[in-house]
């Protein structure tokens, strides 16, 4: 009898709890700017579907707690609970990574490949599809977005807490920044 009451109580409790944790309605609101499944069709805005969970979690929490400057996202994530952020990171990490290879001139690609080999390869891989566990994929990410993000790393106006990334971005020559962004943007799977 006690057992029955307990399971009944559990059943009653779990229905609304599960509903409250359903992240898809919230995840769907991200599609407006980042595309369905986190596949952006717009060059200034990153694709986020398929990025590593650890990376997505970390940046969203850094924005939320004022440790990292963003342009728009740091305002948006402050309205989400830590649990929602974790669930969003898990949701988007589960989506397939869809590279959008963007054409670039041969000379730019060669220059970008050299810069990527010198500076980016260690954490992101030479074609950007083999990153460290908490580093983002770069293959077929939008080059315009990558360049804007690198400008933030190179500027003193933005709080960018990843020291290794900051140093790497600042050590690059301005030409190499743009070439590396285009090189990674040109990569496919």
């Amino acid at each position: 009898m006690r057992h029955t009451i307990l399971s009944l109580a559990l059943a009653l409790l779990s229905a609304p709890t599960l509903a409250a944790l359903d992240i898809e309605p919230l995840a769907r609101t991200c599609n407006g700017c980042h595309g369905v499944g986190g596949v952006s069709v717009a060059a200034p805005i990153p694709s986020i579907g398929g990025l590593p969970k650890a990376y997505l979690k970390r940046v969203m929490k850094q924005w939320k707690y004022g440790e990292r400057t963003s342009i728009t996202m740091d305002r948006i994530v402050k309205g989400f609970s830590d649990d929602q952020i974790d669930a969003l990171a898990e949701y988007f990490a589960r989506q397939p990574w869809v590279p959008t290879p963007q054409p670039a001139a041969e000379a730019v690609l060669a220059k970008g490949k050299a810069a990527a080999g010198d500076t980016c390869r260690d954490c992101h891989g030479l074609t950007g599809n083999d990153p460290d566990v908490d580093a983002p994929l770069l293959n077929g990410q939008w080059a315009q977005y990558l360049e804007l993000e690198l400008m933030k790393y190179r500027s003193n106006e933005f709080k960018m807490p990843h020291r290794k990334m900051k140093k790497a971005a600042r050590d690059m020559k301005p030409d190499d920044v743009s070439a590396a962004a285009r090189y990674y943007g040109a990569q496919g799977k």
């Binding site: 980042h34 200034p44 805005i45 342009i71 728009t72 309205g79 400008m151 500027s155 106006e157």
Partner: protein, 446 residues
Amino acid sequence: MDPIDRRSFLKSLTAATGAAFLCIPAARAAQPKARVVVVGGGFGGASVAKYLRLLDAGIEVTLVERATRYTSCPLSNEVISHSRDIQSLQTGYERLARRGVRIVHGEVVGVDPAGKKVSLADGKSLDYDALVVSPGVDFNYGAVAGLTPEISETRLPHAWKAGAQTLLLRKQLAAMPDGGRFIIAVPKGPFRCPPGPYERAAQVAMYCKHHGKKKAKVLILDANDSFSKRPLFEQAWKELYGYGPNGMIEWVAGASGGAVEEVDADAMTCRTTFDEFKADVLNVIPPHHAGKIAKTAGLVNSGVWCAVRPDNMESTAHKDIYVIGDACAGGDLASNNPFPKSAHMANSQAKVVAASLVAKLNGLPPPVPVYTNTCYSVVAHDWGFSVVHLYRVEGNTWVYVKEGSGISPVTIGSGKDAKPVSRLHRKIEAQYAAGWLDNLMTDAFG
């Protein structure tokens, strides 16, 4: 079904691809599980049609829209300033059709909520199990003496629905002499795109500054006493174009007699409570109300707008009819944070309706609604900013979530330590604006 089964069913149902339901055999698909009719093919209507099909391809979705092409209002001020081609804001309905949305190009002239039927101008009718009305706004021309739809179309464009009037205003701006006066008459709110008139002022000033019209004036005659993103606009106007009686842009508040009451298209003048102003270009935006069909259908029950339920946007006037987009009155009215009438807001409301309808039609528990808005304004090629909004529903009322809302920073830090926001920040935001539009258009129409 125990709760766990329901949960996994719901998850497969809401998978981004909707793959689970694309497998329904054709014989079963021929007998839809429900018929949903969507009236109006703007951001709201297109988004709800798409998401219904994404979440459950067993639902038959019919979208009724007069036009075969849609022109986005967001960023159409860049067309006026010759910074953007209008084609870049246009899309058709082919991609929605490929998703299985039945597209009917026609006009809904009547709604029978009891018989669950809409009638079209060509005499045909459509039965529905659920109806989504997303009619946008219509204009109250009678509120401004001397203004008629014909005068707006030919001489004093409002250009508040992107299209022919946007192009007319663009032509008028190009033809304006140096030293000319461009007047923007802003109606009493709420109106579509709250930051729109002020972004337009900046875009017009940008055009004048770079096209040999440095002595031009942009005069905003406003029926309201404040406006959206005001500190950001005033900062940018001042820095880029000069703001105030000696600057290129000047703003007259409603309390200072800014409300335009009468226009004379022959004399090119407009009259406010206190003054008469002569213009070279007269951009008069009339007050708005919910699109005509909302009134015909008996859905207008909150002033000139349609009241809806917070959990699923269902009309409070009629069951099984949902009103989304600019025509609805929603949001946290208690804290004076209503839903802004924006494309992104309509897109977000559409997703709430789609998820709620799909759950209901499949006998599943209602999803937890969340409403978001992100809206960018571009005041120069390299200067943009935005506002974000987040609303939750608690105890069947909307709650504006302040922590997840707000405008771009005006300064970094505040008080004595305040530093200006870097130009790089503003430049990145101008680029995000263009990207936001492309992704939002694709999320709705793609």
